[in-house]
Amino acid sequence: MRVSTIVVGYQRRVSRKRFALAAVLLTLGAAAGCGNADDHAVTDTADAFYAAVASDDGAAACALLAPRTRSELEQSAGKPCDTAILEEDIPEAGQARRTQVFGKMGQVQYAGDTAFLAEFHSGWRMMALICAPTPKDLPYDCKVSG
């Protein structure tokens, strides 16, 4: 089992949780360690997405979208993804402030946006972006989602 809270500067990262059942009861404390490979993978994917949008590379940005998010975007815009994604008002994200990963889901908070990612066989993909927080613990209001 890996449970970690890593503070790097003001970036607090909670690692992906994996539980080795055989060790759960006997080595709960000893097994708690630091493992942030997933955190880095999630942050890297989100960074690459925003970098692709910033450089007007629609194809590269679309390659990092989750399949359902991509098809939702194409359907709602009535255009191919690589064109539609660049027409969305995607803000400049800036540096990632906090990444949290639980199982196959991740969230990256930037100064300018909050993104939700999901893990597929092909790697981490953007599930929702341009997300604004809502009051009363309701789901984020995301302009692009699947």
Binding site: M1, Q100, L138
Partner: protein
């Protein structure tokens, strides 16, 4: 009889339940993986292998929420039967034996026997610890299982929250969340019902040959008698 056959004969109850436990755990792993992947497919998310599933928070919380309640059940039953009795139940001790009982009844002090355990003969703190060692061990397993449930449940719950595009909770906040208490209480109520109904039903019903039952011909009023 060979040593192996003797061991199997003398430990058949433990071996039976150990084997059944492993089979059920493997079955739960397969069923749980298929359930998890069905949910992933429905949401257009990635599926996982059996190896990934059995090391996931989902599997861990489903396993440990049941473990903690089982050990809590036996812990409570063990302690409650020191002070509470049920007339006619083989699960109860004699009605006039309420409490921790005296040294003669417990074969302690001057009443220890040659074959008594070393810590029962030792006296002092060691005998005090040994006198409660069974609920102590059950209590430790319960607490560790419950703690593990809280951590695994927290991770699994946060995965669901992220799927729903909500912020994850801190672990301390999860301890106050409905999900944690729903998982705990739904198991506790069923265990309490099962052990309570066993104590009552065994007054009037029998299973010939079982140590958990009174002899078939034993009167309903007989308390603390088992086959």
């Amino acid at each position: 009889m060979s040593r192996v056959r003797t061991f199997v004969h003398d430990s058949s109850l433990s071996l039976f339940f150990g084997g059944m436990f492993l089979l059920a755990l493997v079955g739960q792993a397969f069923a749980g993986m298929h359930e998890y992947n069905a949910g992933q497919r429905a949401q257009g998310l990635g599926e996982i292998s059996l190896g990934v599933y059995v090391t996931s928070a989902d599997f861990a919380v489903d396993v440990t929420e049941n473990w903690q309640s089982e050990y809590l059940q036996f812990l409570l039953f063990m302690l409650a039967t020191v002070w509470f009795v049920q007339k006619g139940s083989p699960e109860s001790k004699q009605l006039d034996h309420i409490g921790r009982e005296n040294d003669k009844q417990q074969k302690l002090g001057e009443y220890v026997e040659e074959e008594s355990p070393r810590w029962a003969k030792a006296g002092g703190l060691r005998t005090q610890i040994f006198s409660s060692s069974l609920p102590l061990m059950m209590g430790v397993i319960f607490l560790v299982s419950w703690l593990t449930q809280s951590i695994a449940g927290w991770a699994a719950y946060n995965e669901t929250r992220l799927e729903q595009m909500q912020d994850p909770l801190r672990w301390a906040d999860y301890l106050l969340a409905a999900d944690f208490w729903s998982r705990s209480l739904q198991n506790w109520q069923s265990e309490l019902l099962a052990v309570g109904s066993m104590a009552v039903l065994s007054i009037y019903l029998r299973q010939r040959g079982s140590s958990e039952s009174k002899p078939v011909g034993e009167p309903h009023e007989s308390t603390g008698v088992s086959s």
